[in-house]
Structure formats: C-alpha cells, structure tokens
C-alpha cells in the first residue's frame, strides 16, 4: 500500500488505519467484534484490509470476547475483541473478568465518544476505563492519534508477557479520525513492570533438597504449566522423580491423561485420591497454580502435615491463600529445567499405590456408574466417554459451567496440551459456545467439541448465528437435563430439595439449531448414543447434538463448601 511518507520510516495515516497496522504488526490475522457508532472509523479500515485481517461478526460483544479467549487459550496467542462505546464496551466486562481470573491474554479495543464530549454523558458514553479497571491487567484511554502505536504495542506486550491477562484500550473517535506519522516499534519492556521474576538458584537448590528427602511427595500442577509452555519440563520432572501428579481444572491437558503418574484432578469435584492424599503427603509441590478455594476446601485443614513448595510466576500469589515453606519464583519452564538435574531419579511405588487404591474405591462407587451406567437414563459421563472414544483423546474440549463441566473435566481424556478450555475461576455460564468458535478458528485442523448444559447454552445461544455465518465446523453437544443442574444438586443436598428457580422449561433445541441451518440431532436412548457421537465427529460441518440425560443425577465425589479435602464425599 502506497502512502505519503512523512519521513522515510513513517507513513501518514489516520488513527483508525494505524490501529489496523498495529494489529498486523502484532501478527493478528483474526479478531472478533461488533460495530457501532464510536468505532466506525476502525470498521471502515477493517473493510479495506479484509484480505489481511479477518473480522468475525459475533452476535453479541460477550460472544466476541469469549471467542477471543477461546482463540487465545488454544493458540497461546493474544486474542483480540473489538466493540463500540457504551453498551458495546460494557458487554465485554464479563469476558474481561473471566480472562483476568484465568490469566488469558486478550486485547479488547473499544470506541469512545470524541475527546471534547468526554464527561458530557454523550450518546453511548460510558466510563469503560473506570468500569474495567478491576478486571483488567492494564487499560488505557487513547485521546490523541499519535499515542496509538506506542499504546497498542504496550497493550500486546502486557497482555502476553509474564502472567498473561486482559488489556483494554479505549480510543476516542477523534483519535480514530485524526492523522499521525505512523511508525511501529514493538514494546520490549515497561520500566515499572517485571513480567517474570529472576529464578533464584538457592531456592531451586533447596527445592531439590526437599524433593529428594521426601517420602511421600505430591505434585499439583495448574495452568501456569500451559501458559509457560512447560509441559515437557513437567513431564521430565515427574518421570525422573517418580512423583504422582494431579491437575487443577485449568492445568488439565498439560500432561497426557493416560500417563501412569498423572493421578487425577484436585478440587471440589476432583478425584478421591488426589484430594484425600493431599492431607497425607509429606511434601506438596504446587506448580503454576494459585490454591483457589475450590481446590483447597477449608484452609485450616489443608495439607497441614506437609511442607509446601510453590513454583509460581506471580509473587502476589505466594502465601496468598496457603502459607508455603518455599517459593520458587519464575516461569515454570525455566525453574523446572533448572530443577531437573538436581532431582534424584526415584520411584515411589508404595505411595503411588495409595492413589491407585483410592482410584479403585472411587471407580467402584462413582466412576463405573457415571461411565458405564446400568440404569436406563443416559449419564453425562457416558457421553463424555463416547466423545473420548470417537476423537481418540485428540479433541479440544470446550466446556461451559456446571455439572457437565465437572463431568467433562473428570472424564475427558487428552494427549495434547491447550486442549481443555473452560471458564475456571469466574465460572462464566455462556462461555463455551463462543469460546469453541474461537478455539476452532485457532486450530482448524483439530476437532473442537463444545460440551454445554441446557442453561449455559441459552446464555450465548445467539452465537449459533456466528458459527453458521462463518461456517466454522464446531461440534456442539448440549447435555440437557432440563435443570440448572449444579444449583439443583446443591438445593438437593443443602437446601432440602427446594428447587428454587432451577427448573428449565426448554425450547426444542434441535429446531433452533436447524433454524440456523446447522445439522442437528437429538439422542434420548443409549442405543443410538455411540452412533450419534460418531456421526457428529465425522461431520465436516458444524453439528449440534442434544443428549437428553438423567434429570436429577449428581456429580460426585464432592467436597462440600467449607469442608476439608479429607472429607470429600463419594455419595
């Protein structure tokens, strides 16, 4: 593209065009958004650059930001969402909060009323900087075109570096119209910001010593392993040290599900052994996880007998919830590779045997009934097992929030990292459908299966329109029990079965999907389940599968809210 040059290195462009050049310079080739008055100059440029930059029109701004999150989680790249001012911007807030708590690199660009109208309560003016501050890693309002290149470079740098997170850049309309001499320099650092703490050789040596001395060491790994791309380092550490390792919900898929030392999931609906044995290990090695309350249960009775080492990139997470004996700050990839040569090759057969024994107990009382039920009604677990079988453990599984999510994270099997996409920290119903769209666009060669409840599906059901328009071959499974199942389960267990506002009178989901011209099918009996799942996976187009499951099944094991990990219930 020929442009009048101000200097040999710069070109004179409008702010709106500069934004496009910034996105291209950051390697962005796809973004999600929704146009409106205050962002129209940028959309006008998007139209001109549509060969280089694919804009996906979602049906709601919340869909745009969740799609950007799904894209980021699968690709490891920064996801980008765009919206207009006012309601466009406020509709992004849930996604920002979700990306903040789940450390997802996202840049959101919002239009804003012109500089001279700021503070005048102009049409579609809202203080999105004020609103988004607590749910962003960083945010900035651009009011002059000349600020665009530097701020955009900083936005991408901050979103992706260190512990990733969402950044919002709000751009007044005058800054989009005005011209600037454009030159792009990627951001290499911000003087007030240390993205990754320097690893401390002494801390690593002490960690190795504690690990080598331990009789019953136990690893719990989280998303820090995935975000730090430390999967190989984790595997090497686990295999050399022979230490059993369990995942948090966001750590899932960092290790092969079938690895003999990968012992299951911790947390409220995690596996029996990994929870109970937390209180029997003598050394707990936490890697890239943040001791969320859904993981620890009652902190007063959490791993009190054990010494604790915390491998963590964010110093603010150390001693936040659980007091640790040793913190090893840094990127897990780096700290684990420094640790590895100092760790003795060991095996912990007897200790590992305790995990196996607990698994057998859990299998007998929970897993067998979930996955190979002998009652007539379909279970969520058997659907997930069928998906495992049909995809050979190679799919990206995107789950929403609730019972089906816990079942998906308990039973879905993975061989590849960055394959379990779910809203962990925020628990955002409505996340999965748009996130699956973004995930599939990030990895078009992979099978992407969204597993969603009947409640969450209806929270962003409009994104079926985006899936249809973009012809994105996402596979959508709705596990329909006509209830807000997780809340219903709590009402059954803790509120004497008073099912306050959890009964759903649902529409004909198959007809709705067909209304969007998607292939759609409903399964109500076991006989047709396997064949329906296979048909869905074999489909080259998007496919909607509704599975009518047992209405009042519960997810077990369960650590009741406020109870100890030792008091996990099998029924």
């Amino acid at each position: 593209m020929q442009k009048a040059s101000a200097t040999p290195e710069t070109m004179n462009v409008t702010g709106a065009e500069a934004i496009i050049h910034c996105l291209l310079a950051e390697g962005v080739d796809i973004l999600y958004g929704y146009p409106g008055g205050a962002i129209m100059p940028v959309y006008d440029e998007l139209f001109k650059f549509k060969d280089q930059l694919h804009h996906v029109l979602t049906r709601h701004e919340q869909g745009a930001v969740h799609a950007a999150q799904g894209f980021a989680r699968v690709s490891g790249r920064v996801g980008v969402a765009m919206a207009t001012s006012g309601p466009g911007a406020t509709n992004l807030v849930t996604g920002l909060a979700d990306a903040q708590i789940d450390s997802t690199p996202v840049v959101c660009i919002t239009g804003q009323v012109p500089r001279h109208l700021l503070g005048s309560d102009a049409f579609q003016e809202t203080d999105i900087i004020g609103i988004s501050t607590p749910v962003t890693k960083w945010n900035y309002q651009i009011t002059r075109a000349e600020e665009i290149p530097e701020i955009m470079a900083k936005a991408f740098y901050i979103a992706r570096s260190g512990r990733p997170g969402p950044v919002l850049v709000d751009i007044t309309k005058n800054a989009q119209f005005d011209s600037l001499d454009f030159q792009y320099k990627p951001c290499k650092g911000v003087r007030s910001y240390t993205p990754i703490p320097e690893p401390d050789a002494d801390a690593i040596a002490r960690a190795a010593e504690m690990i080598n001395q331990a009789k019953k060491p136990y690893i719990v790994y989280g998303q820090g392993v995935i975000l730090g791309e430390a999967e190989e380092e984790l595997k090497a550490f686990v295999e050399k040290s022979g230490i059993p390792a369990a995942w948090t919900i966001l750590g899932l898929s960092a290790m092969d599900s079938d690895h003999p030392l990968n012992v299951g999931m911790v947390g409220m609906h995690g596996n029996y052994g990994p929870n109970v044995l937390t209180n029997e290990c003598d050394l707990l090695i936490a890697i890239g996880m943040r001791f969320d309350d859904r993981v620890t249960g009652n902190l007063e009775t959490y791993a009190k007998q054990a010494r604790i080492i915390h491998f963590e990139i964010d110093p603010a997470e150390v001693n936040k919830n659980v007091k640790v004996d040793l913190a090893v700050l840094g990127n897990a990839k780096e700290t684990l590779s420094l640790l590895l040569p100092q760790v003795e090759a060991r095996s912990h057969e007897a200790w590992l045997g305790e995990f196996r024994k607990k698994y057998e107990e859990e299998y007998a009382s929970v897993i067998r009934k979930d996955v190979t039920p002998d009652k007539p009604g379909l279970t969520m677990g058997e659907v997930v097992a069928q998906i495992n079988k049909a995809t050979d453990h190679r799919a990206v599984i995107v789950s929403d929030v609730g019972q089906h999510q816990m079942i998906a994270c308990r039973y879905a099997k993975f061989r590849e990292s960055k394959s379990n996409i779910t809203s962990g920290g925020l628990g955002t119903m409505g996340f999965a459908l748009p996130a699956a769209l973004g995930a599939k666009m990030a990895a078009p060669q992979r099978e992407v299966v969204a597993i969603i409840g009947d409640g969450g599906f209806q929270m962003n059901i409009q994104e079926l329109g985006t899936i249809f328009q973009t012809r994105t071959p996402v596979k959508i499974v709705v596990l329909n029990n006509d209830f807000l199942g997780m809340v219903r389960q709590w009402q059954e267990l803790f509120f004497d079965k008073r099912y306050a506002s959890t009964v759903m009178t649902n529409p004909d989901f198959v007809k709705i999907a067909e209304g969007y011209y998607l292939k759609a099918r409903r399964v109500e009996d076991r006989a047709s389940l396997a064949e329906a799942v296979e048909e869905m996976i074999a489909s080259e187009d998007a496919y909607f599968l509704e599975v009518r499951v047992e209405k009042e099944d519960n997810v077990f094991p369960m650590i009741p809210s406020g109870a100890s990990v030792s008091d996990i219930r099998l029924k």
Binding site: P134, V190, R191, S192, P315, A316
Partner: protein, 175 residues
C-alpha cells in the same frame, strides 16, 4: 492476627487512572483507607502514594503485593509506625475576637508549636504539623472556644531504612 496501623508507600508512574486502580484493591477487600496522600517523590516523574490503613499485617502484605503487581507501580512497601518518620498537617480557622477575648488561646498556640498563617478582621488561621495525637489534642483544646473550620492532611512519611527505587529504575535503563 492483631490489627494495627500500617503505612503503605507506593512509587509509581504518574498516569491517569492509577489512583482508581490502587483504591480498587482496597475496595475489593472491604478495607478502608484511613489517610491518603499523593505527591511527587525524590525521583523525577515518579509519584509517591502514602496510604495509611488499620488492619492486620497479613492483609497489608496481600494489599502491597497486589499494588506492586500493577503494571504502572514501580515498587510498594509497608511499614509500621516505628519504622517511619511521619507527620500530618492541620489548619484551624478561628474567629479573630477569640484571640483577644480568650487568653488561653494564646497559650495553646505557644504550647502546641503551631503557627498563625493569616489574621483578618473576622478570623485567623492556625497551622499545625505533627503526629495525629498532637493535632487531636490541639483540636480538643480549641474546640470549646469554637472552631469555624478544620482540615487535616493525609499522613506523609519517610522511612528510616533506605528505599532502593533509584537503583531499580537505573537498572532498567541498562537492560
């Protein structure tokens, strides 16, 4: 853990919106800011927040860690009162006739080491710099005579220990 007074010092870039970001960290944890002062620091273009809270050390440590995590914050510290030199300033506006009618007021001015900033026909203004309890004491002594207006600043502190901010910034220049 016992609640006590802590002074949080924050060295930061001077950017629009950072005060909101920092105050939000207290808001999220339902912790009240007892006193707040923002000013330039000993380093060019670096601002210093001085924030006083009454809470436990555990919460103070969390808050400081969260503040320091903000992109535009260079460094945050917390100190107990023993570890800092701290002062507040106050202004008292008092009716001028009292200066002549109430001899005790002149004694209060002398004993409190306060200064008369201005005197007009209707009122005079006293300035007092010192610890919170000294200002409180002066307030209680003047109160019976009638205080037309009173205002007290946020606490400002310097620490007894060194604050290695310049060295940190210097290091960045050479990266």
């Amino acid at each position: 853990m016992e609640k006590q007074w802590f002074t949080i010092s924050v060295y930061s870039e001077n950017h629009v919106g950072l005060l909101n970001r920092i105050s939000g960290i207290f808001l999220k944890r339902h912790i009240n800011i007892e006193s707040l002062n923002v000013s330039k620091s000993e380093i060019d273009e670096v601002s210093k927040f001085t924030i006083v809270v009454f809470t436990t050390e555990r919460w103070t440590r969390h808050i400081v860690a969260q503040i320091e995590k903000q992109v535009e914050v260079i460094k945050a510290f917390y100190h107990t009162d023993d570890e800092t030199i701290y002062q507040e300033s106050a202004l008292f506006k008092i009716a001028s006739h009292l200066l002549f009618d109430e001899r005790q007021i002149q004694n209060i001015i002398k004993e409190s080491n306060s200064q008369i900033v201005t005197v007009s026909r209707d009122f005079f203004v006293l300035a007092k710099t010192g610890r919170r309890h000294e200002i409180d004491q002066m307030y209680h002594e003047l109160e019976p005579f009638g205080i037309m207006q009173f205002v007290r600043s946020g606490r400002i502190t310097v620490t007894k220990a060194e604050m290695p901010i310049s060295a940190m910034l210097e290091k960045f220049q050479h990266v």
